[in-house]
């Protein structure tokens, strides 16, 4: 029996007249990598923004089983969400570009360190409590840096990293908040096939070894189909399918709306003729 970590019930999000998410319900489980897929503009990122407090959903209930038991996310301020153990990354990478890689990871542990620094007062006078807490924070950062192969670049400004490493750093930063559920918005975008494969390994390891559930928005079907335990398909803000990858792959609705016909359609005759001509010519 799986334990739910996130229950989305009847989530609807409207912007003016536009319905971005329409009566969406699904459950993500603690032992799963859950993927949300669907065409661009289907409302996937909007779901993330509702979960993480950036948008206030129009209606619906979002229950998250966090560090301190179940909480409702739909009316929570964005900055309180991570404290319950829900971390996220962004589609367009949002690093603190001028700060070093290590600093990015230390900032992610802000709330713990604030407490340890006696809300700055103790830290100002160099209390040992704070120094120990900071050393621990650095160790945690080092752990993830080593896991992701970024340890050599720890003191580089984050903006100077290559694109793929920036993606990894953003994930490491989210992990440093100590999440129970990690929400990743197109983490494989812009990664080459090798990097994508590594990312897949990492996500499986998070699930199996660290007990961190993963919720994933992704376009790269090779990745999704390989690592997801459970897929939710959105189209026009509505859920059109929900289930394990094998079933999703065969779902006619999903194929029509998103995956596309894999068998070759009849080409329009003039195009076929044209193609033949072009081939013959070159």
């Amino acid at each position: 029996m799986k334990t739910p970590i996130l229950e989305v019930e009847h989530l609807t999000m409207r912007f003016g007249g536009l319905v971005a998410v329409d009566d969406l319900s699904f459950t993500a489980f603690k032992e799963d990598v859950t993927a949300i897929i669907g065409p661009n503009g289907a409302g996937k990122t909007t779901v993330f923004n509702c979960l993480t407090g950036f948008y206030r959903p129009t209606t619906g209930q979002l229950t998250f089983h966090g560090h301190f038991g179940p909480v409702l996310l739909e009316r929570m301020d964005g900055f309180r969400v991570p404290r319950h153990g829900l971390a996220r990354t962004f589609q367009n990478i949002r690093l603190f570009g001028g700060m070093s890689v290590l600093e990015n990871l230390i900032v992610a542990q802000h709330n713990e360190l604030m407490r340890a620094s006696g809300y700055t007062l103790l830290g100002l006078f160099g209390a040992g409590v704070y120094r120990r807490a900071e050393a621990e924070a650095v160790e945690r950062a080092r752990f993830w840096l080593e896991r992701l192969g970024l340890v050599d670049r720890a003191d580089w400004p984050a903006a100077s990293l290559p694109y793929g490493d920036q993606r990894k750093l953003e994930i490491a930063r989210a992990l440093c908040t100590g999440p129970r559920l990690l929400c990743l918005d197109e983490p494989a975008a812009g990664l080459n096939p090798r990097e994508t494969a590594e990312l897949g390994e990492l996500l499986l390891e998070l699930r199996d070894r660290h007990g961190i559930a993963v919720l994933l928005i992704e376009h790269d079907m090779s990745l999704v189909m390989r690592i997801a335990d459970h897929i939710v398909v959105l189209d026009y803000g509505r859920k059109i399918a929900d289930g394990p990858p094998e079933r999703i792959k065969r779902d006619p609705l999903v194929i029509k709306a998103y995956l596309g016909e894999t068998e070759e359609e009849e080409l329009p005759p003039e195009v076929a003729a044209d193609l033949a001509a072009a081939e013959g010519g070159s």
């Binding site: 912007f15 990122t45 923004n49 950036f54 948008y55 962004f90």
Partner: protein, 304 residues
């Protein structure tokens, strides 16, 4: 009632002047997202050019007021526009796409420079212009109070309305205005449509400066006294007006100017004249907190 009417009239005239300056802020902000801090000084220069032109015409013996007015208006617009254009070329264009605060700091520097420049060349003393247009309509109500509408106030309102109408037409109907709006809505796409973005931005500064020049001329006629420091306060108030109306929107700038002018007139009329500037700033703070996009502004959706 008569007192109320009088404040209303004063407020409208004042509001029109603020509105004229506010359009410059609004357009520049709309197109490149920067607060042109030196815009208040452009208005001040407009006032000085008007003053100098009047004096020169007086020395040349041109005494027919309508002719003098037209000549001064055109001179002020031409020279002040050139100032606006030059400021953009020197202080802002090299910083386009640069670090966010850089153009603002540059603008503050430009503002200090222009202020000192006029202070040095024209002296720090208040300049008084002999009234060019005097008189107006006076109404007396039953209880003996009088309400005066001066010719200057009528001129301010008429000229502003004509300019507004003409200008709205240019923006709405001409290729020039379309290019300008396109740049406001999407600078990159405008370039992809073949619009010379740099030229359009320059033009925006020129139009803003021209309107500021008209405001400067009106203020000179209305108050009869100017000094090198008038740009700062007028600039901040006009910016308030632009924000109040919804920055980026031209009718909004006019509306914001009117609201501010009226608020100031009634505040000084009924409460205290000393704190009238405090009133303006307080309105600004309140508006920004409760109505961050202004009265006619476009709401923004935060992209995450």
């Amino acid at each position: 009632m008569a007192y109320f009417l009088q404040q209303l009239i004063n407020g409208v005239a004042l509001g029109m002047v603020y509105g004229l300056i506010a359009i410059g802020y609004s357009m520049v902000y709309g197109i490149i997202g920067m607060i042109n801090f030196a815009h208040g000084e452009i208005y001040m220069i407009g006032a000085f050019v008007s003053l100098i032109a009047f004096t020169l015409l007086g020395m040349l013996g041109v005494s027919w007021a309508p002719l003098a007015l037209v000549v001064v208006l055109l001179t002020a617009i031409a020279i002040t526009s050139l100032y606006g254009w030059t400021v953009e070329r020197i202080a802002y264009r090299p910083l386009r796409g640069s670090f966010r605060l850089a153009p603002l700091i540059s603008a503050i520097g430009m503002s200090i420079f222009l202020q000192t420049y006029v202070q040095i060349t024209q002296g720090a003393k208040i300049k008084t212009l002999q009234p060019v247009i005097t008189g107006g309509f006076t109404f007396t109500d039953a209880s003996g109070f009088t309400v005066t509408i001066s010719w200057i106030q009528i001129l301010i309102v008429l000229l502003t309305l004509v300019l507004m109408a003409g200008f709205t037409w240019v923006i709405a109907k001409t290729p020039l205005g379309r290019a300008q709006r396109a740049c406001q809505q999407d600078l990159k796409m405008a370039a992809l449509c073949g619009v010379d973005v740099d030229r359009t931005i320059s033009l925006t500064f020129v139009i803003g400066a021209a309107l500021a020049a008209v405001a400067g001329l009106m203020a000179t006629l209305y108050y009869g006294v100017i000094d090198f420091f008038i740009g700062f306060l007028a600039g901040v108030k006009a910016f308030t007006a632009a924000v109040l109306g919804g920055i980026g929107s031209i009718p909004g700038a006019m509306l914001g100017g009117l609201v501010l002018g009226l608020a100031e007139a009634f505040w000084s009329g009924y409460f205290s004249i000393e704190y009238k500037d405090v009133a303006a700033f307080t309105i600004l703070v309140i508006v920004l907190i409760f109505l961050p996009t202004g009265i006619l502004g476009q709401p923004e959706i935060e992209k995450v």
